[in-house]
Amino acid sequence: MTQVFHDIERKIITSLRNNPKQITKTLESSTELSSDQVRRGIEWLKLKGLAVVDESKTSTISLGKNGLESFQKGLPERRLLDLLNNGPRKLSDLQKELGFVFGPAMGLARKNNWVDVTADQITLKNIPSVLPGEKTLRTIGGNKLSINEIDKNELSLLLKRPDFIVEEIIKTKEITLTESAKSIVLSDSSGAIDVEAKVPEIFVARTHPLKDTLDEIREIFVTLGFSEIIGNMTQSSFWNFDALFTPQDHPARELQDTFYLDGISAKKIATPEQIRKVSESHKKNWRYSWDINEARKMALRTHTTCVTIKHLAEKKPDEARIFSLGRVFRNEKVSYKHLVEFNQIEGVVVGKDANLRNLMGIQREFYKRIGITKIKFWPTFFPYTEPSLQTMVYNERLGKWIELFGMGIFRPEVTKPLGITKPVLAWGGGIERIAMLKYGLDDVREFYNNNLSWLRSVTKCQ
């Protein structure tokens, strides 16, 4: 295998092949590189596993001020003994001649039994030809020596004397090549680059993750035979509520749940016949005085059902599968699980096979296609469907059952006034909740934050 090396690396490898163990200083001179280049080159080779750096500590020894004096004049005790060579001397004379080294010299001489002291007379007794420390003192002399070259016992004696020995600690880096580096081919084919090196990150453009989920869901329903219809987000209360048998004093219609447009009412909301029949159905079943001005109030749609019911009221099909996918609005406090604006899908089936088990079958098939197989159905209540069910799906990550789509069969009180004669199966629910499961999000707001660090990191194909 041919690896491509930087010039610096190549020079260091070549030098180490000639001289296998080098410290940085020698590498600098042998490669003629600056200390910084050598440092970087060694770092690269180390990362590639081609060089090993042994860091070691050594001490050097040299003589201090008193050590040098003793080297030149002899150790204080040697000087004392020399003075006694020609016979006993008076203590006071010796004191004068030797000055302040007399004390330590006498101490050693008496301790080692080299002298006899009587009254004020000092007499020489046995003396070794070489005193302890003298040899080492001579070895060191004026040099700097490695600690390994010196007798350890003698050194420890000398170290006890003030200012005799100076010890310096030196760190060295020894660089050697690894086995694999020794056999490597230093190709110098021009134009080759380091293909194994790290490269800068670039961020690919992509469609929004939530859009991907919307597209995926749209495609599933199209393949199940459904056609997509699009409708306005601003709707009269008539289509958002009245046509769906939600009485005008129903709590869901209040300001705190629904967004109404300030000061805006629709002049034309539906055909006179539709208005008459819908209002009659309300008066008869809910027993209150229905007010057309309430129905004119423009709201931000609270569900996409208003789009499908309007379509059915207009076309009155005998057989149809249609769906609507888009934004809906709720006047809620924004939190990690609630948005004021989110996407909803709403689908209907009209036809002779329209029955509750088929409605459940469509749901099961849809969930299967988005990878959810553990589902169950529970009864629930919606003002405009009867019977009404909701799907519960099991999420492994959260370890619990989650409510997803609601469904039911449009009540006769909804269909009859609008001239829809065939049974209508309807189902729908929020998309963000499905997308949260898909992307493993716990905060629904992330979809609308347009936070680049998230958008650039989330996996597209999942």
């Binding site: 459904f226 004021v340 459940m360 936070n451």
Partner: protein, 547 residues
């Protein structure tokens, strides 16, 4: 959805032979979602159309049916007597015309039962009572009242000691100074007179729909109850009474009739109702093939009575099940009694061919093309704020479309433009690496008759070398690739763009949008440190298929 707290051990006593697990497994199939569980306590959400589920007595009745322990309709046994009556004077007819009531005797009341009654009362007031406007309820200690009663109108100077008060207050004081008075006083409108229930000693029993008198307060020592319901509609008042009567009977009370006389009022009958349904409708709607006998037993499990008569099934509906309007409701009752878990989903082949809406297809293609030129797709709310839409971008504020009473400051105005949102996005990403290029397609709103909704398309690019040429190249190439459309740009000025670096975007001489370098002051306001260029065009009129 309203929530009620239940105790498994209490439910077990009320239902009879049943395990805790059987109860918790069955609750969802009664339409009750378990919200949380803690040892013996369980909180369930119930549907607003079933006020009888606001107490454990009502839920016990439902579970008994579903589990097959006791099935069939609950019959109210109301003792006939002449002991109790209310006379109504004509002067209430313009304020709150109807009153009805019932007496319930020989019950045992403890703290838990009082708590259940209070939740029931709250739920009835909020739900079918429409915050007491349509109808409201008062529950009293029967033994503190001397019959007959009078339902009449009185002046606001009328005084009595209301519930939770130690001293006598006038009606005016109650309306202006007490919490309940402030909350519900407006129901009575501007009338100078208010409704009042007085007993034969002229002692005040209740000031509906605001508050009861203190003297009739129900305590754990109370044995016998008097329940009154007042309202603006006779049927609604009787519906409410039927729920309370059913619950009190289940709670062990013996019911006794209260006669009502005068001014369009009458004694409540709380009668059962009959609705017929065909087995064909049930089987067709559910996708089943059930025998009539199975349908009848399923209906009975839903606590209704049913019998077959020719080709019809005649169903008897107790008064408290006023959520049942017609045959379709009986289809659901059959399904519930049969058990939703027993319905096997089926997939019938589609008779129709599916199709994506052409607008969706075109927008999807446009997104793909934008990704091709290196733009990331953003999504912003259509409901945004004045700050983002106008203040930060210096845009003019004519004909703002705002919503009423938004709970969120950041969501008060419908957007008429997309790029302000994208600029806001850039400002939140100044610590991320550049270049930053984003686009969005979405609906914009303008005041029309009543509102016009159009689809706009906007893109922005922010980096050290961003300039007009770059953004015009992008828009020009994207529209050419996507729609084979040629654009022209003509010099213009715009408050959000730098003078001399701003142009209108035209197709065949028609204005479709704006393009240019964003005004450096705006970029500064947003603390963005690189130049930003962008465009916004309308797709609806000249580019997309008719919307």
């Amino acid at each position: 959805m309203p929530v009620v707290e239940l105790s498994y051990s209490r439910l077990q006593k009320l239902i009879g032979k049943v395990s805790k697990k059987q109860i918790s497994d069955s609750l969802p199939f009664l339409g009750l979602d378990i919200e949380s569980e803690n040892k013996d306590l369980v909180r369930v959400e119930y549907s607003p159309n079933r006020p009888d589920y606001s107490t454990d007595f009502g839920i016990a009745l439902g579970l008994q049916g579903l589990l097959g322990i006791k099935t069939g309709a609950i019959k109210l046994n109301i003792k006939k007597s002449k002991n109790y009556s209310i006379s109504v004077t004509p002067d209430v007819s313009k304020i709150r015309p109807f009153v009805t009531g019932i007496v319930a005797k020989h019950g045992k009341i403890d703290d838990k039962i009082i708590k259940q009654f209070m939740t029931m009362q709250e739920d009835l007031h909020f739900g079918i009572g429409r915050k007491r406007k349509k109808s409201s309820i008062g529950i009293h200690d029967l033994d503190k009242i001397s019959f007959p009663l009078l339902y009449t109108a009185t002046n606001k100077s009328h005084e009595f000691t209301p519930l939770h008060s130690e001293k006598t207050l006038s009606i005016s004081e109650i309306i202006t100074n007490t919490d309940l008075g402030k909350e519900y006083g407006s129901i009575l409108g501007n009338s100078t007179k208010v409704p009042i229930i007085l007993d034969s000693n002229k002692q005040t029993v209740s000031f509906p729909p605001i508050i009861n008198a203190s003297v009739t307060t129900v305590t754990t020592k109370t044995k016998n109850l008097f329940v009154e319901v007042t309202g603006i509609n006779k049927n609604d008042a009787e519906d409410m009474l039927s729920v309370v009567a059913t619950i009190l009977q289940k709670a062990g009370f013996v019911l006794e009739i209260v006669h009502i006389f005068g001014a369009k009022n009458s004694t409540p009958k709380l009668e059962q109702n009959e609705i017929s349904v065909t087995p064909e409708l049930i089987n067709q709607t559910l996708g089943l093939n059930l025998k009539t006998s199975k349908i009848i037993s399923s209906l009975k499990k839903s606590r209704l009575d049913a019998s077959s008569k020719g080709k019809q099934i005649i169903c008897t509906i107790p008064a408290y099940r006023f959520d049942i309007f017609g045959p379709m409701d009986l289809v659901e009752e059959t399904a519930l009694g049969y058990g939703i878990q027993n319905l096997e989903p089926t997939l019938s082949p589609s008779q129709t061919l599916g199709q994506t809406n052409p607008i969706s297809s075109e927008l999807k293609s446009l997104s793909q093309i934008m990704v091709g030129v290196g733009y990331l797709e953003a999504l912003n709310s259509s409901l945004t704020s004045k700050r983002v839409l106008y203040e930060m971008t210096n845009r003019e504020t004519e004909n703002i479309l705002s919503v009423l009473d938004s709970k969120s400051q950041e969501h008060t105005i419908l957007r008429d433009s997309i790029f302000p949102g994208l600029l806001e996005n850039l400002s939140k990403n100044i610590h991320e690496s550049y270049p930053q290029k984003m686009f969005e397609t979405g609906t914009v709103f303008t005041l029309d008759d009543p509102v016009s909704e159009k689809i706009n398309f906007s893109g922005i690019s922010a980096h050290q070398d961003a300039n007009f040429t770059e953004i015009k190249s992008v828009l020009q190439s994207v529209l050419k690739t996507g729609f084979d459309i040629q654009i022209d740009t003509k010099t213009t000025t715009h408050p959000s763009f730098e003078d001399g670096r701003c142009a209108t975007v035209m197709i065949n001489g028609n204005f479709i949008g704006i393009i240019g370098e964003i005004d450096s002051k705006i970029i500064e306001n947003y603390k963005i440190r690189v130049p930003v260029v962008g465009f916004e065009i309308s797709l609806s009129d000249s580019i997309l298929e008719s919307f």
